[in-house]
Symmetry: C2
Subunit: 193 residues, 2 copies
DNA sequence: CGCGGGTTTGATGATGCTCAAGCCCGGTGG
DNA sequence: CCACCGGGCTTGAGCATCATCAAACCCGCG
């Protein structure tokens, strides 16, 4: 159940056998069906979720009803509304599954205990948050300064595989463009080589 | 020297007189002249800076030579490249002063000691980082989904005063539009009331 | 006075959006 | 098994927004 989790964790910090064994108690495993919510806007984000299997996304819906995808989480990634999770304020994001998924949930209380028992995990989560910050800064600068095509190319270069797994209109939403525009960009790119 | 600093800190956490007195040793005060760098891309960001007086900005310069402003820091705000500061990796950002400025610098070593002596500060900095995250998420969604005009209006509503203090072409850079476009937007808004 | 940076204004063009229609394909019910 | 959806992707025409290039203007400063 935790194979992928340990594999990812051990890329950043090295856990002993005993530490791994001690971890397990802190996580709750949960299955999500396609389109099922993990979090709905207005609720408090009680868990950080590690994706063992499947794909999730977090997104907001604006007044005009348009969705804006904040993040995708492929297998081996974490997803949560960190702000709501840390502060206990209601979230403005929805999180749901693009396909059937298996998750490991970590509540904030469990996280505290985990940090206390295995302090290395503080480092692990700090690294995750830092990487998230970097990624968001890059995405912001990209959206401010690059064309839709450039942003798309960067995205698929950074995450080949995403293309097969995520419906195109959601990639468009993530990039902040319409599905029509993305379709045309892909046509361009296809004919250009 | 630390008046504004204590005023801002006490909005989030309450320090006793003794705690305030104990703080002072951890900060280095520094004056910056207009256009002077606090950090240059390629160097490691050794300090978080609290702005007592003046205005700073952080920005990157892309291959085409265009500047992209990541953040402004008005009086009472913090500025740093958090990633470089925390990891010790070289920064990709420049930070400089838009006008003569007075800063309080906090090195990461000093920050550690400060946290140790007055743990409340951990909370304070966590709150700062959270707010920064929120702000960046909002800005990202804005840049993906709103028009240049809407983004501009939101910016000046959130920060009236910035307009007087920051040259217009830098606001344009922050918004990811050209100075010409910003000029036209302002004209529009002026005639429209 | 003249220079230079910042802002404005105008003309033109590219990028991406909107609206509308068609297509492809997997799923459902007759 | 086939007919018929319906959702997602594509295609097209026209339009809005914003960038680019160029020129003028404004104003503080040496």
């Amino acid at each position: 159940m935790l194979e992928l989790f340990f594999k990812k964790v051990n890329e950043k910090i090295n856990l002993t056998e005993e530490e791994q064994a001690a971890c397990a108690q802190y996580f709750i495993s949960k299955k999500l069906r396609k389109k099922q919510y993990l979090l709905q806007a207005g609720d408090v984000c009680k868990y950080s979720a590690f994706v063992e299997k499947g794909i999730l996304r977090s997104y907001t819906t604006d007044e005009k009803g348009a969705e804006h995808i904040m993040q995708f989480a492929l297998e081996g990634w974490w997803i949560a509304d960190m702000y709501s999770f840390l502060t206990g304020e209601p979230s403005i994001y929805n999180i749901d599954a693009l396909e059937d998924a298996e998750l490991l949930l970590l509540s904030s209380a469990a996280q505290e205990k985990l940090f206390h028992q295995i302090p290395k995990f503080e480092r692990y989560f700090r690294i995750l948050i830092q990487n998230n910050m970097i990624a968001m800064q890059r995405r912001l600068i990209g959206s401010l300064s690059l064309s839709a095509e450039e942003n798309y190319v960067h995205l698929i270069n950074a995450n080949p595989g995403m293309l097969q797994l995520v419906p195109q209109h959601m990639i468009a939403s993530y990039l902040g463009i319409t599905p029509e525009t993305l379709s045309r960009i892909r046509k361009q790119l296809a004919t250009r080589r």
